[in-house]
Symmetry: D2
């Protein structure tokens, strides 16, 4: 009989956006059951969150440390299998390391850590523990992102020349970080967010998507980093020129002050014979353009998809799947890997975390320099 895995959550109490998404994503395919949590450092809020989520009072813990200790002491067929870490960034490293060292698998929010150094510590802990570590680079979970990746990898477009990625939001266009918006507040606080503001929050998503789909590594970059809202302590707008493997050139734009924009993550890649375009806000369409024949519209559920794309789909063509389903694809792969270490189950892991944190450090370093190009290193 199929075994449903047991999940615990660190953070994600009432009012938090991303915790609820993790819960829905984990539940969607019946792989996971949320049975424990340390949802908030505020005891009353923690208690209410547990109740609202139908968690037993005994497994609604006051802290992650308490959770790890108590769960580790439970019999193997009762204790949780993995910890979902959905806190602000500064807690990712201490929590992930503690959870891994206590023997639990970890599904961690992005960015991985405050900086590359912290990320390396997580990576080392994961290696030592032999536990699995997944990072919520959700957008790689979309079926048509997989399709795009496959088509580039098998050479449909020829050698890749251009990679253009952008992630455009507008919700930080005004100083809401100083007007009580909790989500905005910690994301613009260097102590809790890390080196990058917009850069760490969404620039890393854009960077990961570009490398993931193109199959190319960024070799060097040149960046302009701005803070448009007066008084803000971290960047809210980033533009980067990229030089990738094999002479490919790229641009990356990430901004949170494009007033009126929602969640505009968009990728374009061109090779010698054609190119592709994918936009997160209409994720079930992948556009392929060609030098010498008509544009093709690849659709989720439509004809011609790769096997690995089909495995990420739940509905027939024309029945849209969205963000939660993409997220659920990561949780599903994470479950498969835990259950049988299947190599076909793929999710963003330690290496992605190190690359993305290396990207953040390189951009910050370049932006402070008069020299044009900075090598990206994530060793």
């Amino acid at each position: 009989m199929k075994r449903t895995l047991r999940l615990a959550m660190a953070g994600g109490g009432e009012g938090a956006f991303i915790g609820a998404i993790h819960r829905a994503a984990a539940a969607l395919d019946g792989d996971w059951r949320l049975v424990a949590g340390a949802f908030s450092s505020d005891p009353e809020r923690n208690r209410r969150s547990g109740e609202m989520l139908g968690i037993e009072a005994a497994r609604t813990y006051a802290s992650l440390d308490a959770l790890l200790a108590a769960e580790a002491a439970l019999p193997a067929d009762e204790r949780v299998d993995a910890i979902a870490i959905v806190t602000p960034n500064h807690l990712h490293a201490p929590m992930a390391i503690a959870a891994l060292e206590a023997g639990f698998h970890v599904f961690c929010e992005k960015p991985m850590a405050l900086d590359l150094e912290e990320a390396r510590l997580i990576a080392a802990a994961a290696a030592r523990s032999g536990r699995h570590f997944a990072l919520a680079f959700t957008y790689s979970g979309y079926p048509l992102v997989e399709e795009a990746r496959v088509r580039v990898a098998r050479g449909d477009f020829g050698r890749i020349r251009l990679v253009q990625v952008e992630y455009s939001q507008g919700w930080l266009s005004q100083a809401i970080d100083r007007e009580g918006n909790k989500q905005a507040e910690w994301r613009t606080d260097p102590a809790r967010a890390g080196l990058g503001g917009c850069l760490g929050d969404i620039g890393t998503h854009a960077f990961h998507l570009a490398e993931h789909v193109s199959g190319l590594k960024v070799q060097e970059l040149c960046a302009d980093v701005a803070t448009h809202v007066p008084g803000r302590r971290l960047d809210d707008d980033v533009s980067v020129l990229l030089r990738l493997d094999g002479g490919a050139r790229g641009t990356l734009k990430a901004t949170q002050v494009a007033a009126g924009d929602e969640n505009g993550l968009k990728l374009r890649i061109h090779g010698e014979h054609g190119g592709l375009e994918w936009a997160q806000m209409e994720p079930n369409t992948l556009t392929l353009r060609w030098l010498d024949r008509p544009t093709e519209i690849i659709r989720a559920g439509g004809p011609g998809l790769a096997e690995s794309t089909l495995r990420r789909l739940r509905t027939p063509a024309g029945h849209p799947e969205g963000y939660i389903e993409a997220f659920a694809n990561l949780y599903h792969a994470f479950a498969l890997r835990i259950l049988d270490s299947a190599e076909t189950a793929s999710f963003p892991s330690v290496e992605v975390g190190l690359r993305t944190m290396g990207f953040v450090e390189s951009v910050i370093a370049n932006a402070a320099s008069d020299t044009k190009w900075t090598k990206l290193s994530a060793e």
Copy 2:
């Protein structure tokens, strides 16, 4: 503490499309847990389905009758709360009536029954039993369908003049119903599908959406019903002229032979001052057009939404929600109604079932007649 409701499923074994959707929809918000089922009349297939779904062998029943008998005998805090019926149409009435009479709530696939007469029997059983009965007219679960309904109801467009609805699929363009496609086979078999083919399968969706959003009832109709694929025994293409309350005129087009079309359900409504357009394949956008000012794009999660729309949303703007989320909104409302009879929890119920079956009968009657207009009656 929040109580998770217990769900049993009739039908929906391996390979069935819609059973898996019901399960994901029920799981998404943590309201329901699937704990029992009679998934298939084939014993081996039933057993494998139960295992794959993590259902205890003891609650994987050989038939719905066995399930109803055994579950009714369980203590109240163990037995299932509701039965999801996801079988071909001819089983809806006998199963729904049995389940209601055994004291269970029922969430039933559409169309409600083979014909209006059967639908009336279900309605009577629901009334007698005092149990809740929900119908899977999924599309009314989309947040922006609710937004559209609210805006029409509060008079934003003035008196409604035009209602145009279409549901265009292409998957039955060839004779796959005689080539082993199970989904196609029963849908084109009068004994299992009922009076209408395309008409019952998707025409009812279109009809429901039109009445639901416009707030108007169809008074009379004039139809052309065709079967384009040779040898097919039920219609695969329907066109209907509608006359609605208050002089509004409408058109309804439902087809399953629009080769290449996916799941094109689209609604347009116009009143004196403006109109709206919503398309299921891009469900997070609602377009409003106006006589005297620019077109507005209303977005799921964006500014200006009604309270009842916001309750149907899980993600911020730009993070697309899809078909499963719309479905989950029906399961969530169904759970709320069961738990506290909240009047704000709304889902398609008996009245919708009767109207839609009345529509099917009226179209079939009109298509067989030389007289232009047929009154729609669902009494």
Copy 3:
């Protein structure tokens, strides 16, 4: 040396929309030069219009009769070649017949006449005179309408089953016809517009496009005709079920009370293996959908176009051509036909006029009847 043809215009004085379009369309390719006109029955307005257009005072005539008499008396290398008739509908027949009988070619606005009887008189005059007669069914001039026609004709989609056409405008949503809007006023006056309001004005465009591209004739129809704006004397909203050659079924919707809609002419055709969609408001894109392979986007100027499509294009891909260019394609074909009677030069002519007027009469007759189907006859 290329000969530039000489054009005269009847109607189209200051403030008239369609006269200016005819002039731009005729000028665009350098085929025509406007050298004479009877622009208005108001002498002062006529004089001002001629001046504004750079027409010599001597060739700015008080009436079409005066124009025909004077121009016919000029030497062949000075007199006009053709008359563009851009007046309200009730003048089309008398003017066209007079012009043809005076030996001039005629380019006439649509609909052809007030009713089928008048249309037959024009047809007879054209036949007797041996002069060419073109009708401004502009939309057939778009390059990708030609491409669509070619692809249907050569069987790309298999036998055609579905034809869906709609023409949705909103500008007559209020009673502007009684508030001084000249365009609205005559179009809703039976004495000047003819049998149909919306039906004649844009329903005929939709009908023509459907027959032109599908290559099928409408055999019988069933219509609902409404007038939504109180006090209006002609229809403003029409819905029609169509039965076409070979068992194809169709729907035609034309309305001028879809408040907020602009000029939404849209055609969809489906056959056994796939279908096409074209929308006038984005005319440089033709969408092809297929049962078994990805959707293709055919673009004006892009790869894979038919020879007859390429002849209708002026710019490379991505440089949009629009309504005036489509119109100019009709004037260009008209010029080619006059100059050398080339069979490849195609424009809507007498037969199209008779079919479209037959359509108007059949719809009006059916709408007044309780019998469902009316045969369309244009003999």
Copy 4:
């Protein structure tokens, strides 16, 4: 009576794309009549071109010098008013200077010249001569580009923070410049194209559009310039970071190796409260996004347009105007300026030419340097 201006053309013989566009654009509104030309340096081709265009043999000149001499000798009411220069770039400066010095107005293709130094010589000649000089930065002629400019200028979006412009073509993805494509050949030849390849050909368009609509000047820039096709002598791909007035940041991407892309010029501008998006391939739509209210779709011909936008429109909403119409708006403004020096008639002139050539020089200089930022100077 309206005076039709007389135009001569230098270049633009048979087979040339842009010459035909100039002729159509000049003809469209009846402002201009082409009466003379030096279409080709090949005598036979020149003769055939004149014949095909209906130009008298006497005014089909062997060279521009011959044309200038002969026309200058004609009486004022016969000689041409202006010269359209539609040759490769290296002839712009000598021809424009000669024409201006001979007393003719000049409408010149872009880029203005081979480099900034040449551009300054033209500017000086224009100043000395008192003649008007227009540059074919066509895209500023679109009605909704004007609307965008007006809305930024009047402060609808607050202070501007972001300017993103891109111009993406794919037609130079392969080495067609060495395989007989004449258009490609001269554009990749430094002697005929100038300093920039893609940069001069379309990068200048993007740059001009960004400055024109934002109303901001680029202060400094940082560029990456690539040549992807082996053996090509000029750039085919350019990415630029921009710093504009008032702290605004920008990105500019121009490429001719985005295989499959057509003519993707797209502009986005964001300010404190909202932003706009315009794309040349769907030019009749302008999208406005807002922090706190729904997105608005501004449409050519729709409600709410500025007076200066309306003057650039010929058709009602929903009747698409395109590239030739945008071009015609420049020729119309040029005619108005010649006829009455109206200040409201606006077209890209000497200042635009100098800025765009300054941009080209700055990008080339920066790309060759290790220093990050280069000031843009066009003095």
